[in-house]
Subunit: 377 residues, 3 copies
């Protein structure tokens, strides 16, 4: 069964760095911690770090379980370009959808990633990043709604979806209704100006009205909307990243037939599975958590699939910074999905034919359908 | 061990439809989704759907894993009456407690269900449905408290318990104290009249004061109180269905020696297990989640039983609409309970005698004790 | 591997009773329930009770799975002193850190526990207990901040850490900032005086400002701070014991390099693992839950270790009252940790050398480092 798995579509990932990394830099990209500290020891002593040593070392011609120092020495010896090439090539991807909105300087762009992976690359536009750029150039708050709508239409002409990071800002407790332009203009006023009226240097979208406005603009363009949910770094207040907080908005977006993709979701992935079942427009993955938990990946996927229909679950790596994660997440996902489907066959829960068909949906079919990846471009 | 399991008592279930169903209708009853949609595909591609194909097809003389079309064709060929007869008869029930409060038209009544299952049937009265009927006939808000108390006493004369659906309405964040009649009358005023004073056509109980009043009226009649908790359809805001929200009310009901039964609980079933441990009057099940998750049922039951005493866990199918669920939930529950108890024996966690005794409590003994099902009627 | 496990450091435990117990008293200490009740049956029918019969009976020269009555008769026959001696001696501890703040009358003190366990004993000072003593003696609210600071410095001269029970009082939703003395004095005024101005007889700390003040005083003394989180008795409102509520305070304590130890955490242990990953100063255990869930202990530890680095997870028994829990928690923890590390070896997730090293961190090394247990005293 495992060998039957079709190439994956990685529906949410990022660029990887185009330079060599020392140990501190590598560890700071290895988990969601800022880096190792004197109290807690090396971040190689995590399931993520152990999985890198186990599964990535052989791609660099080292034995499995190579020590962190040996691993990093070999990585430096090969150089970042060769390292990126090897891990992207070994991911076995058919297509990837790259979120270009976070810290793109020094990261490979979607085209480069696609060439290294020998896969079709697509872009996901981060809503808040675009809005902050529009705000920095906006003549006035009054002009902001139209300016954003125009910028989004322009910027997504070749994109397959958008992403909201409301979970990192105002939180996911967003009202369902579309805000009217007067509300948006008031919120844009706070975004553009300091309280003393001076122009704001680095406008930062963290107002619920603006998050909702951005999402509804994407809905109007009939674009799928990704939401960061749950697990992330210490900047995220995880309580405000519970997907159940989105219930009202999901319900309204269902009426508009806007597909919504709940990313990561850990430790709320069972709740995400519930939402994927009861709302016709909701999809879910356990993205970031895959390479974060190593061989526990199948446990998370199994929990997501308790309620989530097989037609509603997708693959993503959420790879960022380290090319290792393209390889590692794909490998752990294939193993997890393969194990779950095989166990179902041996338990008699489903037939081998069902297993192949359902695995194909999760691996690529659902992503292809919801993002319309087969439509002519 | 599995064959030693005594007949089950299904302490929370509903009627099944008395007509044939087309594919769309069948799918709309298969999960908590309204029905299949163009984005997400068929709801047969869920653990629930796969379990129906695996475990229900043979009851209709089909091979396991029959295709959805073959299954539905055979179901239609046999006709609903024969289908209902087969699935109820195969459930292996000793008694069932039927919630008659939701959409009873076109559903089998408790007596019919009991006859098909060859089991004693009992009624569970839904508090909000009864209150809405009383409100529709009430002369005035002042008369509502007494009118409801009288109606409840009358209506539950032959019932074994009541059910609250506060989770679907005001949510479970209910204060513990019994509301006084003045508060209830004020709330009843809002229930009976529109804001312009006109009589309300379809009064809908969704005021926390009223939910609490209904529960306390049942407590005064010494009736066990079921609460819908957690997993349900999209009308439920799952965040408001967290059983921990009930903590204050459970504490007050404990003083009154009122048994409380937390239904379903997914994905909060570990919290429900905690409540069942620390409150002497609290019981829990993983009802609806059983047929919802197929062969994952044992995982949920294991999680509930981490903290919940074996004397506090019950079986329910929450079967509604499709007779399949009477068979499927009972079968999955027997397998889950049997697997857990067997694993405990082979791990050395308990003896075979303990396993039999504890399984008997969970299968039927606890329900018999808490509802007083052996008392002469 | 299991035999390789070094002696454990139990970083959070309590005294055990110094008298014989009848069945009702024993059951009331067996779980977090107040005691068995007529509705729910004996608390021996829990995973905790079954684990006592399985693993503690042999220590009293009984066969595994001895009946509750036989167990209690033998326990009474040996007498509490011999029972305490046997269970403490069999725990295999290198050191223990005893919370002396709850109901210490009639309990063995840290020195006695250490002698029976043949282990070094250390003290953990409970902040609220100390503050309530200071408040009872305080001349005025104005004097409270300095009086508490002096008392804490004095009381912790030989202690290795402190504990906050905010989860049982105001809840964990505590602002991160250090309160200034004026705020503390206002709160102390409410603590010292009834609303009519009369001195309060039994001052009870349950004000968020005071909980925060106590924690910051400990931070100033560079003491590690334990927080009760999650699972506890019915006095705890579990919703207010969610570790994610601590996010702001953890973030501020990270700046101050104050180690924080999240205790128990069930059913929020995955969230605790997340916090232990993203905050450099945060550590976690599944303490109380270990003996509470019997052979499910490895499931909980596995879930905690999904995100928590191996350098951030500790062992604690949270033993209280019954000496059995010193033995039982240690045994279940060794089995759980051994099972997890062995499975990782056989799955190929890590090497045997890694397994030994990481198990050593979790068993004792992390506690030794965070509490500075090797520093000269």
């Amino acid at each position: 069964m495992r060998d039957d798995l079709p190439p994956l579509i990685d529906h949410h990932c990022h660029g990887v760095v185009r330079r060599d990394l020392d140990r501190a830099e590598f560890e700071s990209l290895l988990t969601e911690a800022d880096g190792p500290g004197p109290l807690g020891g090396t971040l190689f002593d995590t399931r993520a770090g152990l999985a890198v040593r186990r599964w990535c070392a052989p791609v660099l011609d080292l034995p499995p379980h190579a020590s962190p120092d040996d691993y990093l020495a070999r990585r430096a010896g090969l150089g970042y370009a060769e390292v990126n090439r090897r891990f992207l090539a070994s991911a076995g991807l058919d297509a990837l959808c790259v979120d270009t909105g976070f810290n793109p300087d020094g990261l490979l762009d979607p085209g480069e990633l696609g060439r290294l992976a020998d896969a079709t690359s697509h872009e996901i536009v981060r809503l808040e990043t675009l809005a902050e750029g529009v705000a920095a150039r906006a003549a006035s708050a009054d002009a902001f709604p139209d300016a954003f709508r125009e910028a989004l239409a322009e910027r997504t002409r070749n994109a397959v979806g958008v992403k909201s990071i409301a979970a990192y800002r105002a939180g996911l407790d967003l009202a369902g209704e579309r805000p009217d332009d007067r509300e948006v203009i008031r919120a844009a006023g706070r975004l553009l100006r300091e309280s003393d009226g001076a122009p704001r240097r680095n406008p930062r979208v963290d107002d619920p009205v603006l998050h909702r406005f951005l999402v509804w603009c994407a809905s109007d363009l009939r674009l799928p909307v990704q939401f960061h949910v749950g697990y992330g770094d210490a900047d995220a207040d995880l309580r405000r990243g519970d997907p159940l907080l989105l219930t009202s908005l999901l319900s309204e977006l269902a009426r508009a037939n806007t597909p919504v993709l709940l990313l990561h979701n850990y430790p709320f992935h069972r709740s995400a599975g519930y939402l994927a079942q009861v709302f016709p427009n909701v999809f879910a993955d356990v993205g970031l958590a895959l390479h974060g938990v190593g061989d526990r990946a199948s446990v998370l996927l199994d929990e997501l699939l308790e309620l989530a229909p097989f037609g509603k679950v997708l693959y993503s790596s959420d790879a960022y910074g380290l090319a290792e994660f393209y390889h590692l997440a794909a490998l752990l996902f294939r193993r997890a999905l393969g194990r779950i489907m095989e166990e179902g066959v041996s338990e008699g829960s489903w037939t081998r034919d069902d297993a192949s068909r359902l695995a194909g949906l999760v691996a690529a079919g659902n992503a292809r359908r919801v993002y319309g990846l087969d439509r002519p471009e």
